[in-house]
Amino acid sequence: MSASLDKVTQTLKEVIDAPIASYFESCVHCGLCAEACLFYTETGDPKYTPIHKVEPLRRVYEQEYTLLGRLKKMVGLSKPITHEELDQWQELVYDSCTLCGRCSLICPVGNDITYMVRKFREGMAVSGHVPDGIRGATKRTVEIGGPMGLKWPAVANVLKKAEEATGLPIPVDQAGVDYLVLLSSMEIVNYPEYIEALAKIFNKAGISFTLASDAFEATNAGIQIGASDIAKVIVTRIVDAAERLKVKYVLSPECGHAYTAIRWEGPNLIGRPYQFEVVHVLELLDGLRQKGVLKVKNKFKDPLILHDPCQIVRRGGVLQAPEALIREVAENFIPVADQQKWNWCCGGGGGASAIHTETAEALRAKVFQIKKRQIEDAGVGTMVTFCANCRIVMEEALDHYEMNTKLLGLTELLAEHLED
């Protein structure tokens, strides 16, 4: 299913704006972005240099938007993009870029390379040069409701179990409440404790909330694949539900890309600001902590480090809450050298974790070595994070390296130690 090259070029032309043009013009090929990318630092292969990952986009920019480039194209001196080339670039744009944003933080001329990759993916999606794993997840989100193919009855079942476990009601489709709670499929299936934790915390803080049976999924595979039309369909579900139920806030789950999708990309996808506020669960919890509502009865004793998920912290702006919360509940929190906005990615963000080819999985395992070193250098047996996707990616990697590091979710950890 390959679109014509004209259509691909047209899509790429449309995504090129003044920032992208300025970024391409500023690049001096210093290669420092490679040093910020775990796919380069852990493999030593120069092809993973971030700016190289957008080379076909650069050529489209040059050929379509610059005087010299257009002249070169007219006299046949420029190399047009081809399907074979885009095919080759698929690995660079999806398997080996998690949109983690570290390169955008270090580029000396100031290029936001992550933004460029995200935009390049739009052309890749149109031309069909997309990994099957992400394509499947996107299709399931549009047709069924979530990337893992989870339907509402299954979610309702999980909610019922959470009600039984906590003895607290979990309202569904209730209008006029404070918070509309979103989940990620990964949490519903693998970490239902998150839902129990939330129910307990809301009850304690006296905050009203609801879930929506037609908008429970917060993740947005459309954004990861790079298809804005699909991303818009997915985000519109949440906006419609939130505005129908007249909630004040929409609560993003821990999941990183879900947060970016609903908080930062959503209004731009639907073309207007929201009538509600989007709050990340850690922002809510930190607010409660500051008000003195969130009190812990005892602290977690084992030494631990924190893994800051890229899309929540570096690309999402939830900078201060995680450390404040972990200090509240952990007695032996050990800060790592590269923390907060400088943290290293788990290796599976940006849709990469949905790619299940042998090479992609081997690459993910390889780049996890940077996290492995962080854990070993700190000498801890526990790592806390706040993104279900990071967590599952790191659990697989810990298995791969036969490490017995314990992985915990921050919200759950807090809930477990909360005063009754």
Binding site: S26, H29, P46, T49, L68, G110
Partner: protein, 219 residues
């Protein structure tokens, strides 16, 4: 054409052509790039201290967290040759005199021995970063003809200028003419190669800083 006629040409019509192409080229390229515009960000902004386009314009002049250690040659070599070029270009008295004659603007020059030293240090740093480009797999991988070419057109004015002042190799008149010609080549090439980063890097840093400041992240 003898040496003096050559010098007269590069100082007259040659300079006019080069400055003309440079000025029009810069204006055209800036228009070409920034007229593409960008969409406003409709998400509700978050505020954070130290996060803005302007902050990033300045902050990116310093090596970010951990980077000096990872790539010392890039940073130290880069600083030395950029600062060195600025000293040589804007601190050398005859250059200031030229600008004064063209525009009427002038400022005090630096001692010629100091400028002389700066030129030698700049050339040494440029040779080091060139070697680094050959030597480092990532830099070599990214390098195209343009990278070697722009290095040469930046290096030659420093080399010929220094040699003219030192009266090395060729008669002074010829060397001075070659020096001016090499600067003219640099001026003509600058708007159309990666050397144009001297203008766009401010815009790039600002865009990046602004987009991330919208989310409350100082970058």
């Amino acid at each position: 054409m003898n040496d003096l006629q050559f010098l007269t040409w590069v100082r007259g019509p040659g300079l006019d052509i080069a400055v003309g192409i440079f000025v029009l080229g810069v204006l055209w390229r800036l228009f070409e790039i920034y007229s593409l515009g960008r969409k406003p960000d409709l998400a509700a902004p978050r505020h954070a201290d130290g996060a803005s386009g302007l902050h990033t314009v300045f902050r990116r002049s310093l090596p970010p967290h951990g980077m000096l250690k990872r790539s010392p040659v890039s940073y130290i070599g880069g600083y030395i040759f950029h600062i060195g070029l600025a000293i040589v270009v804007f601190g050398f008295a005859p250059h200031i005199l030229l600008v004064k004659n063209l525009t009427g603007v002038s400022w005090p020059g630096l001692p010629s021995q100091f400028v002389d030293l700066a030129a030698v240090v700049t050339m040494a740093a440029m040779v080091v970063v060139l070697f680094d480009r050959f030597n480092k797999p990532v830099k070599r991988f990214l390098s195209t003809f343009e990278d070697w070419f722009t290095w040469a057109v930046t290096f030659l004015p420093v080399l010929t200028g220094w040699m003219a002042v030192q009266h090395l190799l060729l008669p002074y008149t010829l060397m001075l003419a070659l020096h001016i010609l090499s600067v003219e080549i640099l001026l003509v090439v600058l708007p159309f190669t990666k050397l144009f980063h001297v203008f766009t890097l401010f815009g790039s840093r600002w865009f990046n800083g602004k987009a991330n400041a919208h989310k409350g992240v100082p970058v």
